[in-house]
């Protein structure tokens, strides 16, 4: 497996979607290729930083407008 093959499979590898044969090839490549190890690691960190990031609380004015719109609808037309 060459570096560009690792990059092509990196997403499936991180998802745990690779079959055993490809997984073995990729892991053997990572054992001796520092660059690919760094790319795999920083790609995983990219996904993690987005996945773990909590959204900011809603701004008060946006929240007030949302709930005003909801109440108008909820009380006019109860579910």
């Amino acid at each position: 497996m060459k570096c560009k093959d690792v990059i092509r499979e990196i997403s499936d590898y991180l998802n745990g979607d690779l079959d055993a044969g490809l997984m073995g090839d990729l892991q053997r490549h990572l054992e001796h290729c520092e660059d690919c190890r760094v790319i795999v690691d920083t790609t995983k960190k990219t996904i993690d930083v987005y996945c773990n990031s909590e959204p900011a609380p809603l701004a008060d004015d946006i929240r007030e407008r949302l709930h005003a719109a909801l109440r108008k609808k909820l009380f006019k037309n109860p579910a």
Partner: protein
């Protein structure tokens, strides 16, 4: 690593579900329960709207319309997915509609994408301490949001659904009207492009 699909893979019946009672009450006509559900998820749905439209006014409209539509169609929610996942589907459709309205000729999710030649990363450098340790939360939000905003719209939608909202590849494909291989290809490119963008901020040699 199995984290990416972890939440999507959890069966609703396998975990305590604090929202279930609220959903049932809202379906029975209790408006206050629906408002509680809104309060639980409003900030997440707003972020989803921002991530897709990259515009605060549009994101606000997307969020309002999504919750109003969810209320209208509450009877259709069968409880076979998480309530939040159901909301995400509604909000994504609202976001995509808003994009098409804004730029009718520019948004196409099914354009062919380039070959593999662009994939090999140019900058390879390990990252320093975790981004959460290096940056204040507001600053980190800005960095993440800016990087996503620089992705092409079709890549952005795939990354947001798969890696932020944690929908499965199949759910994402169905929502965006694309094939599973098309989703996988866009996800790979999105992740690599975001890695390269974040590299500017998070690499070891960078002093924030």
């Amino acid at each position: 690593m199995n984290r990416t699909n972890s939440k999507a893979a959890e069966a609703p019946a396998m975990q305590p579900d604090p929202e279930r009672a609220l959903v049932l009450a809202a379906q029975a006509g209790d408006a206050a329960s629906f408002e509680k559900l809104v309060s639980m998820y409003e900030h997440k749905i707003f972020r989803l709207g921002m991530n897709i439209t990259q515009n605060r006014e549009d994101a606000e409209d997307v969020m309002q319309n999504a919750f109003l539509k969810a209320y209208e169609h509450l009877g259709n929610f069968q409880g076979d997915s998480r309530f939040y996942t159901w909301l995400v589907r509604i909000a994504v459709n609202e976001g995509l509609m808003r994009l098409r309205k804004r730029r009718p000729n520019q948004v196409s999710l099914d354009e062919p994408i380039e070959g593999d030649d662009d994939l090999l990363p140019r900058e390879v450098e390990d990252w320093g301490p975790s981004p959460e340790q290096r940056f204040a939360q507001t600053e980190l939000h800005e960095i993440l949001s800016k990087a996503i905003g620089e992705l092409p719209e079709d890549f952005r939608a795939v990354f947001v659904l798969r890696d932020i909202e944690e929908l499965s590849t199949e759910e994402t494909a169905q929502l965006l009207g694309l094939s599973v291989p098309a989703i996988k290809s866009r996800l790979l490119r999105s992740r690599l492009r975001l890695r390269a963008k974040l590299n500017r901020y998070f690499r070891r040699s960078e002093t924030p």
